[in-house]
Subunit: 363 residues, 2 copies
């Protein structure tokens, strides 16, 4: 069998917005792409074929969660994450850098990496550029991420600089540890907080390591949309045009659209899945809380013209009932609608770029 | 459109085991039939089309739960339970008699009925033969159950007798309150505990009311399989051969087989769904607890020759992981397998009766 190469084709560009196609060992990814989050080897409350049916080409897996349970070596023994979770399509894994800081206990950061205690059983672990890269190799991740320190916000220039420099040194070690395979990729992560000079320096160092793609990290961490867009006004331009650009952890529909306009190709966020489980539905006019008693006898779907299985078969009244009594089917149907909504948004975005039109559907 | 009649055809009989076909306003039911339980308007963790795909012709809904949330009048306003939950096939509803005794607080039983406080918000409600029948009418239940008192176990002859007599009087009032519609049915419930004379008397009184079918109540309440089978040795014979016989709340595969052998046509039980959510899988050799660490690296399916979507696509190792970390997909996949297992059991049972063979697969 011919091994496919990892490639990125820039198919069309409208102003800074890019229409692209990534080819990988596990299939194609249409960009701009939204990656549903499958933290612990499952996109919560969804069958993988249902995730695919919403239009998702790629999902995200979390190194931190999977290394703790069921363990990277175990997943490798069972044939890798694709086979383990019955998702034969592309998977991007984060490096664990973000979660180890936000979830674990008793962290100690050194030049070597981060030692931490599991938030589950307190057991001691090390994440380093080498180990994070090895774990992602064991998971058989289609797109691995370099191990980085996600710079917190707000942060001083000096702190942002030393954090970015650590990420740069870790990026080089990650790159050296990466075992290249046809159709697989590793992305570097640009840090530098809100400081243009630091973003510039970070992007420059990473490009010398010739990653297959580049992520922008350290955003969507509390700085707000205005500041995020300000950073996105210049950071994508610091990256090569012939490689995919991934904005980590973003976001709401308006964030995604604003980032596409500024030259971003890939996104991931827990918002559609987490919101769905909490009873929040995304609709074209905004969001809707299905717990609200206004929906108790409403026999219309979440969105009247939505083609998702939830809207085709179930009323707001039924979803209201399910979510109020905490039935699993409520989480299933609300999540399905939201994932469909996000993929439909990406599809509309791609259509607009292809047609060379400005986005007029969400400001 | 021609309104279908509610009919029961006895297609074949092998010793006391019966192969039948029930026709209803909402479609056919192959008997012996197992009805998955959809307590609150959903078979937990399952899409309705997935329930149907396992081979289920009919599901059960709970009057007690639905009258409290979302309310019978509300479901009626929304077009009935079939439409509300997207299950266009037959639905049997219990009368609420069992749950009101096991779940509600501050019950008071009188000749009129049962007044009780909701286990959810403490609100006061009445269930009487007339109200229970009205609720089931509002739900648009295909098969309604007469309102009964489920006699507890163990119980003295005198107590069992007065309880059975109350059920008989309530049966008459339920029958009078029932609004007959083409293709719809109401079943009476035979009580009498473990006392043959009382079962005989109960069956005789109920038959004078000419229900469309008959249930056997007051079993599977702690008496054990041996005593249950003893009661089933004579009770089905007290019922007309040309009407379906339903054993309420049963059961495990061996219970079902033992009851079919004794002339029962219909069953319902939460076992496959509840067990699934708790990580217990039914397999031909018995049951399997997927939480057991023996499964952590087992790359075989729950059952090697099972054709359910879970066994076709997922390993024990993956299910072990999902259930251990309490992922919703674990509940979904385990439930799906168990419901498939139960329907496959019913299908094998029907094949054996058709072929005139003794059951040799479970003793």
């Amino acid at each position: 069998m011919k091994q496919p190469k990892f490639t990125f084709q820039l198919l069309n560009q409208h102003k800074k917005a890019r229409l692209g196609l990534i080819n990988t060992a596990h299939g194609e990814i249409r960009t701009p792409a939204f990656m549903p989050v499958g933290t612990r080897g499952t996109v919560k409350a969804m069958l993988p074929e249902s995730v695919k049916s919403t239009g998702a080409d790629i999902i995200l897996g979390n190194t931190y969660h999977l290394m703790l349970r069921p363990g990277a070596e175990r997943i490798a023994k069972l044939g890798g994450l694709h086979k383990f979770m019955n998702w034969p399509h592309p998977i991007l894994t984060d490096s664990g850098g973000f979660q180890v800081m936000s979830l674990s206990n008793l962290r100690k950061i050194s030049e070597e990496g981060v030692t931490f205690n599991s938030h589950i059983d307190g057991s001691k672990h090390l994440l380093s550029p080498e180990r994070a890269t090895e774990i992602q190799h064991l998971l058989d991740s289609t797109i691995s991420m370099a191990f980085d320190e996600c710079t917190p916000y707000p942060v001083s220039f000096d702190q942002a600089q030393s954090s970015m420099e650590l990420t740069s040194r870790w990026a080089e070690r990650s790159r050296n540890a990466f075992i290249a395979k046809p159709g697989y990729a590793q992305f570097g992560i640009v840090q530098g907080s809100v400081y243009q000079d630091l973003r510039k320096k970070s992007a420059s160092v990473l490009q010398q390591l010739d990653f297959e793609g580049y992520a922008i990290g350290g955003l969507a961490v509390g700085e707000g949309q205005e500041i995020m867009f300000k950073v996105l006004n210049y950071t994508p331009d610091l990256l090569p045009i012939n490689k995919p650009r991934y904005l980590m952890g973003v976001g709401k529909p308006a964030d995604i659209i604003g980032a596409v306009v500024r030259g971003i190709d890939m996104f991931d966020c827990v918002i559609p899945t987490r919101s769905g489980r909490n009873g929040q539905a995304f609709i074209k006019s905004g969001t809707l809380n299905i717990r609200n008693s206004i929906h108790a006898e409403d026999d219309t779907p979440l969105e009247h013209d939505c083609l998702c299985p939830t809207c085709q078969n179930y009323t707001r009244a039924y979803l209201h009932h399910l979510v109020k009594v905490n039935e699993i089917l409520g989480a299933m149907l609300m999540t399905w609608h939201n994932l469909f909504y996000f993929q439909d948004l990406m599809s509309r975005i791609r259509d607009y770029i292809k047609a060379g039109k400005d986005f007029d559907f969400i400001s």
